[in-house]
């Protein structure tokens, strides 16, 4: 039996951060979405950084959940940045014809935070 992992959402200044564990199963992916929405409500954050640098495989379920989550975050007034996507994952996601909705992307967590702070400053 596979043990699904807990998802921790932390708040850094006004931004939520989640680090996806390696090889996330469907339950872990769905839990991420739930936890993000709860945290958005609780902290009134202006954005989410979802780090997937440990993730080897992004299939259609994960991609769809990311896109949905980004949409929900947007409805709550926030912006989503996906950080740390591996090149092999980027190639595969593109070839599968998947999109990440309105989520932005950044090479790593530092750049993701810079991006969110940048955008927040201008608005």
């Amino acid at each position: 039996m596979t043990l699904e992992e807990n998802i921790t959402v932390i708040k850094v200044r006004n931004v939520l951060m989640v680090a996806m564990p390696a090889e996330p199963g469907d339950l872990t992916v769905s839990t991420m979405q739930e936890q993000v929405l709860r945290a958005m409500e609780k902290y009134e954050a202006r954005g989410l950084v979802l780090d997937i640098s440990l993730v080897d495989t992004v299939d259609s379920f994960f991609a769809r959940t990311i896109a949905e989550t980004a949409q929900m975050v947007a409805l709550l007034g926030g912006l989503t940045v996906i950080s740390g996507m591996r090149p092999s994952v980027a190639i595969t996601v593109t070839q599968l014809g998947l999109t990440l909705g309105n989520a932005l992307t950044a090479l790593n967590v530092d750049r993701a935070l810079d991006l969110l702070m940048d955008i927040a400053e201008r608005s």
Partner: protein, 136 residues
Amino acid sequence: MAAEEQGEVKIHVEGDIVAVRKVVRSVATQMGFGITDVTRIVTAASELARNIFLYAGSGIMEWHVLRLKGRSGIELSFIDLGPGIPNVSLVMQEGYTTSGGLGMGLPGSKRLMDELDVWSEIGKGTTVTIRKWKKA
């Protein structure tokens, strides 16, 4: 040391999709596929394992190492005894979906692999087989 040349993974619960990914990743990596090809193969396997779970409830994935004219390849067969696919050519079309946007991922999986074959009979079941060959 002789490596395993075939095996199978039962697909009964959602958690088995991760089990499929782990086994396929291990086999493909041991066969010497590059990281990008390993990712393609694992992702296609994930999509097809998920299809079994979504449409048939349960099934099995069989994997084989193929050897042909000095080249090696990986073959994965996703077998279920589910309802079958009424119109295979329809589901092979881009964008066709029956489960509220989830889609069958067949065209996408075909793009990720070298070969994709579908056998299906209404009321009997479906077998989707995919293959990828290592570059010589």
